[in-house]
């Protein structure tokens, strides 16, 4: 097989990898940063890094989704440095979504952005390592073992970090919601918060 053919095959596999996981990586990046454009960049950087590290995918990786989220975690830690590494490629990516029609971005954008920002503020009260474990396991659905592998830490450490997160979040929630009937999640809501807002006269 010529190297050209091999590369075509690899690209095809990456196309599939992207189709399967780009939205997961985007959701993870968006929830970690609360910034849509930045999340778009993180997705691109994650796949550029994945391509760079594709030997690893070949030799070691069992769970591509966990692997990609691990790369995304590194990109989130070192966004500027990774962006420099892929400066040329990034400069060729469209800055804004060039296809704004077709349903996407339906609306809830602003409210969602507010909710996401509130969540990011809550995340900020956690330490970096706790935050990473929390977003990977609770928001992006990795198993404890997968998260441990993704972060290169023992599974016991995942457990202990999560239990620290739980204690902290309980304190925060209790502080914010004293005697009222239980309100879930730091007053965050999955619903649009329109009813809290005054409509313009």
């Amino acid at each position: 097989m010529s190297s050209k053919q091999t590369q075509a095959g690899e690209r095809q596999l990456f196309a599939e990898l992207y189709d399967q996981h780009a939205r997961t990586v985007f959701a993870h990046a968006y929830r970690s940063t609360g910034d849509r454009d930045l999340a778009d960049d993180i997705v691109s950087l994650t796949f550029l890094e994945a391509w760079r590290l594709r030997r690893k995918l070949r030799d070691e990786v069992l769970h591509p989704r966990a692997w990609l989220l691990a790369i995304a975690t590194n990109v989130l830690r070192n966004t500027a440095r990774t962006a420099r590494r892929h400066r040329d490629a990034m400069s060729r990516l469209p800055r804004r979504d060039p296809i704004p029609d077709f349903a996407d971005e339906v609306v809830s954008r602003i409210t969602d952005a507010n909710t996401a920002a509130a969540a990011v503020r809550a995340l900020d009260q956690l330490g970096g390592p706790e935050r990473e474990v929390f977003t990977l396991v609770v928001w992006s659905g990795l198993g404890y073992a997968e998260a441990a592998q993704a972060l290169g830490i023992p599974v016991g450490t995942v457990r202990s970090r999560l239990s620290r997160v739980r204690d902290k979040l309980r304190r925060i929630v209790d502080a914010e919601d004293p005697p009222e009937p239980r309100r879930v999640g730091l007053s965050l809501s999955h619903q649009p918060v329109g009813h809290h807002q005054e409509r313009r006269p």
């Binding site: 796949f47 060729r92 349903a103 971005e105």
Partner: protein
């Protein structure tokens, strides 16, 4: 799987995860549209193809990744097996009898359409007009809405093997070749290979939507709604063989929560009857000509008060003005003589 110790620790993991998700639920995130994702993907793939020193990889790679994919599927299944009480989606009743009946009639009409003689050298053509309402926050914190209208023509190679073209408001932008395509970035050839058995087709659509929106994915949308959206995207943004269109309609009739809307209007002002699904305060409608039962377009409407308006306010709409197979980039299919259905 039957090991009790494992079950026990999995259960602990599950309940701890639930407790954490309750304390700080995953915030909603915007959904990048399939077309947008496809574009970025194609640009990245073009990037990978740029000449640069790299070592040739062996064919072993392909085999291993295939194994990997199976392993992931297994891992995902393991997560999915447990019921997911943290899911915010209520179980929905099955599609209403009226919607099943309407979709059945629509599917029959779609099936009877002439089979286009598509050659790989040709292009699918799609002409649409769309309105999108975007809200921006003013400096004083109030919200202002603005509508944008976009006239779009899009050419995609039948097999995706050559570059395509999008002409938006008269401005041409080349689109990268996408062969062989995927469910999220389909080519005519790819669509022609889809199962025409609605059950099998729906399974395929769900396999994709579960991956990103099912239990354990932390998605706030849910696999059912994502499947509805995915089918809607296929219907309005691609040209498919009649038997596939027909199967897509029959597949949609199997999605819980599907209803009908007596009167809706597309982006070209054409009224019709709609098949719809409500999710998170928004109703997503597919609009059909009352007489011919052909697809007119799609629309998203608010069903309750929100920052960007009140019930009935339109968020975005599309009208499919023309579609078909053409011989070359830039060649158009005449706009259908519309406005008959008012």
């Amino acid at each position: 799987m039957s090991n009790t110790r494992t079950d026990h620790s999995e259960w602990n993991e599950h309940s701890e995860r639930r407790e954490l998700a309750r304390l700080l639920p995953p915030p909603p995130h915007p959904e990048p549209s399939p077309s947008q994702l496809a574009l970025r993907r194609d640009i990245l793939l073009a990037e990978f193809a740029r000449p640069r020193p790299f070592s040739a990889l062996t064919a072993r790679w392909r085999g291993l990744v295939a194994v990997t994919a199976v392993a992931t599927a297994a891992a995902i299944t393991a997560v999915t097996l447990a019921p997911d009480p943290s899911s915010s989606q209520d179980p929905r009743p099955p599609a209403t009898a009226a919607s099943v009946d309407l979709l059945d009639r629509i599917a029959k009409v779609a099936y009877a359409q002439p089979q286009p003689p598509a050659q790989d050298s040709q292009f699918t053509y799609l002409r649409t007009v769309s309105h999108t309402r975007t809200m921006t926050e003013d400096t004083d914190g109030s919200m202002a809405g603005a509508d944008t209208t976009s006239n779009t023509e899009r050419w995609t190679a039948v097999d995706g093997g050559r570059a395509g073209l999008v002409r938006r408001e008269g401005v041409d932008t080349p689109l990268p070749a996408i062969a062989p395509g995927s469910l999220n970035s389909p080519t005519y050839r790819l669509l022609a290979t889809l199962p025409t058995d609605p059950e099998a087709l729906l399974k395929l659509v769900y396999a994709d939507s579960r991956l990103n929106h099912g239990s354990g994915s932390a998605s706030t949308t849910g696999a059912d709604h994502e499947a509805f959206i995915a089918i809607g995207d296929l219907l309005r943004s691609s040209v498919a063989p009649p038997q596939v269109d027909s199967a897509l309609y029959r597949a949609a009739a199997r999605i819980p929560g599907v209803v009908t809307v007596d009167d809706s209007v597309d982006a070209a002002g054409r009224h019709g009857v709609a098949v719809a699904r409500v999710e998170d305060g928004l109703r997503f409608e597919w609009i059909f000509d009352r007489t011919t039962l052909g697809l007119l377009g799609t629309r998203t409407v608010l069903v309750k008060d929100g920052l960007w308006g009140g019930p009935g306010d339109e968020v975005e709409s599309t009208a499919v003005l023309a579609q078909g197979i053409v011989g070359a980039l830039g060649e158009a299919v005449p706009v259908q003589g519309a406005e008959s259905s008012h």
